[in-house]
Amino acid sequence: MNTDWTGGYVVDVPYTEALTSDLCPAWFSMIAVLNGQPPLPTDRRLTWADVGCGNGLTACMVAAGNPNVDVWGVDFNPTHVERARHVANAVGIDNATFEEASFEAIARDDALGPHEIDVVVVHGVYSWISTENQGHIVEFIRRRLRPGGLAYIMYEVATGWAGMIPLAELLRLTVDADRRRSDLALADAVRTLLELRDRGAKYFPVGPHETNQVEKMSNADAFYAAHEYLGSHFAPLTFDAVATRMAGAHCSHLGTSDATGHMRGMWLSPEIASTFEHQPDEVAREQMFDLVVQRALRRDIYRRGKATVPGSVSEGWKRDLRLIGLDRDFKPGDPFKVLLGEVRVDNDIYEPLVQHLRSSDLRLSDVQTIHPQLDLADAYAAMCLLADAGFAFPISPTSREDEAGIAARRMNEFMIAENRRGRDHLALVSPAIGSAIGSDFIELFTLGELWSGPGHDLEVLVESVLDDLERQGRRVRAADGSPIGGRNEARAVVVEAVGRTLGRMSGVLRRLGIS
């Protein structure tokens, strides 16, 4: 009897529990409109499927932040599904369900999961599984994705990851020979790999992204790294391979979820840009672009059927976009950091926009009022760039603060409580955006204290936060990242950070519906 149910996937340690904030309806709608396609419908409930949902934190975030969305998460690993159900139950989320099933099962058994799905999300899965399982996922999309629905597929790309294939295999072979649990054996395997490099193996140097990955391996989250490198099907892909398969599911490439992933003008020299202009085939252009930018990761959004949209309608959708500021400092001259790298921006354009976001939402009309020289397309692109670089986030058009606010609060309280027990949830769910923003332990523990009851003054809050940090052995860090030793030294940093949180509570956190 064949007892191996893992499909070559790592199962002896669970996957990480990070929240991926751009996997939410508002973000997908923003990207769809950027690419001339309709946003997700807002006049009915949406069905959202997270295929390979892992521990379900992102799926729970979508459910908690978007009461109009029915979320279905599926994973083949029972440990993941048990955890996802626990989170949903603990938070009291009633619009998310989780199921244990293989990719093959969901491709074949129509009784598993919803019948018509608006959005299928495949995150952190596709380039780690066998080609057969990739086929099952595409078949699932073909059978279930509603016409006009969106499918998001994230995968590692050979132009930035290919060089890791032999190294990942070496890690896997070394861990196999070790026989300890994956995360434990991996640390030694990484040391051996680095030793091989340092002793002069001719395979090195590898490409720049791969070099960066090798450097980061020693300090990487062991659970993440085990899943990243130790699966027997680790195989970065090229765009044509995925696009061809998705064509079989009647899906056309819409764009990448990172808005700047398409703005080729930002990344191409004028000489190369003309080569792209002369290439009429989209798949060829995407592959050429990946080579030029040495893309390591693609976060592609496909649409089942491409809509024909009159310009006036598209303009209306663009005018509907509202961004909320995330209170991020704008430093003139500093490049914007986005998925593909760093982008130099015009301070005169972006500084006033970021300034505007500090006090109110930003609409297209605001952008054009501030910068009358920008046409509609450029103004919308500027908004997307602000979102991509983390200065703003699209507001959920269906946000109902009462309902979503309650669910989001419960999820935030749950994550803070788990942080106090040693987990690392560095995020806060926002009902305004139907997603989450990044946070830190001091902010989270401060909020936890404040939400636990009234009557906290600053001193009590600070001591309480220090107690929380100490109990879990977490070190307070100075602005340059260096750890701070004693409680007294740490207190000064915590005082400042708690004060900042209190300020954010009446500012950005309130606007986001978090506080």
Binding site: P166, E169, L173, D178, A201, G248, T275, D281, Q287, Q294
Partner: protein
Amino acid sequence: VAEGTDTEVEQLLNPLAGTNRKASDRFPWYDSWWLAEYVDAKEALARELPELVAAFDDSHSIFRTSPDFETQALPALLGTGQLDEIRSEIARIDDASAEQHETEPFGRVLVHNHAYFDAMHESFVELVSTFVGEPVEPSYNFLSLYKANAKCDLHLDALDAKWTLDICIEQSDVWPIYISNVVPWPEDFEVHDEWQRTILDAPHVTFRSYDMEPGDALLFSGSSQWHYRARQPGGPHRYCNLVFFHFVPKGTRNVRPSDWGPLALELDEPELSEPSTSQPVIPRPDPRGFRRELTPTWLASATLLNRHLPPDLSRPFRAAYLGCGTGLTPSVVAAVHPESEIWAWDFRAGQLEATRRLRDAAELDNLLIHERVGLPPDLGGRVCDVIVVAGVLDTVCDELRSEVLEAVSTNLRPGGLLCVTYRTTVGWVDVVPMQRLMRYLFHLDLGDRDRRVDRLLDVLAELQEGAAGYSANRAVVAEWLAAEVFANDPATVATEYLDDEMRPLSHAQLVEWLEPSGCAYVGSARLTDDLDLEVNDTLKEMIDGAPSSLVREAYRDLAVRRTTRADIFRLGEAWLAPGDHNEMLASLKVIGTAPAERDQATLRMMFHDGRAHPASASPAVPFHGVDALSAIAGIHVSAERGSAQ
């Protein structure tokens, strides 16, 4: 004169109606690639070897159709029951099997060589032979599912569709096909904007329309009769499902431009040896020359050196070459082991043909060629002492790979040796993304192959000039582009690097695939690979201390950035006791093959040079009777060494 209505003819002639990827620049209709190849070849011969033009032309006379032949209408060839069965088969075809590459301009999806239709194809051989007046054999078949607004532009088929049996399965409306009388191949065709009109109006070309109902069939000579279907009227419900069974004269299935390699060998005319532009381009991982490390004697010696019991080659043995290249290595082996049985197989028809010619010329009765292209042999049980799989597993699709591995499992006897040569992941992984783009651009483009290669190289050059990141940051890729792509002629680039299925492998992958067969790794067929001569002492220390055999080989490949491997496996482990090993080593004889003054040899590899002091020698075995092969192949085959150089 075309019988279609004016509207239909206008639609047919609409220059914006779409393009045909299988068309050539010179002959602008679908499936004209073969004619372009044929005319190019004739012109090349006229230039270089004019005395052979007539013979070349004659060699194709079997594909010409008699002008007297007339299209045969075969009403109700299939009955209701058979049609129902076919419809059920069609309903079972999943989307993944349906080919989408002709949705434009034809408006159809295709399924080629479906198992159900393959069986039916065979059943029509007698009927077609009778009607066309010559014995035929199947070439290929396909199911064509035409959708609304479908059309089929005016064209002649390629040679492998000399005879076509077109059967209507079901349709929303009667959709006439227009077929001309038999015409000579239009070798002197002049391209201009109104070329279709010229054909339709030509005085010697007469078209007739045929209406078909479900079950009706038409038999015609597609490569010599112009034919087309005008665009179907619109409407989402319109469809037409047809099956096309193609036949060629018996015994000629492999006579196509893509298989002219053997002819080229004989004529020394490289232009003929290039594969067709529209057929899958297969690289030749094996050099045309002889490879001594793939001979049984050498493999047995390498096995012994690695302390494993080698097979007994002093008695007649059986060896199989799965992936025989141009056949030189198996031919040499057959020549020096006349009592033994040597099998040759390749998934490329052209390679088998080359092997066959070599065998016939050298009268090597003990060299047996497995004729089923694309299907590895079952030689009748576990009877092979040695199987060599050279340059196959890193080139073929998953399905054929499984079949090759199955053939190994079926044929290798316990104690037998398997040698697999392949390109490694370590050596090629960085090249793959660049090569995928090249292949994509190549297959996207239209027209003459060399011009398509030139155009894609222009794009690569532009990307490089613009300091595009990928190759600029990867020395291996930049070096490969400079040495292997830009420096080579288009034909070589197409042959070596524009194949659809280049997938480098790792040693661990191969071991995993072979595990079910019981084959255990012995060592490298290249003796110096296991001596780690090129690595420094600290790396050697790591290699020696590797926790497993798989990790050790991974270290080795990474340490020297190995680009190719030649792994020997043995079916069943049999380690030799030290005493036995020493005794057998003592009886091993080698013979010098390098000039006396050479005390150091350079091991040339693609991405780096390593210097080593290999024993430039071949194992020696006593055999004789090889003069003919030496003369034919232009190499020296040594009776004493059981090898060649």
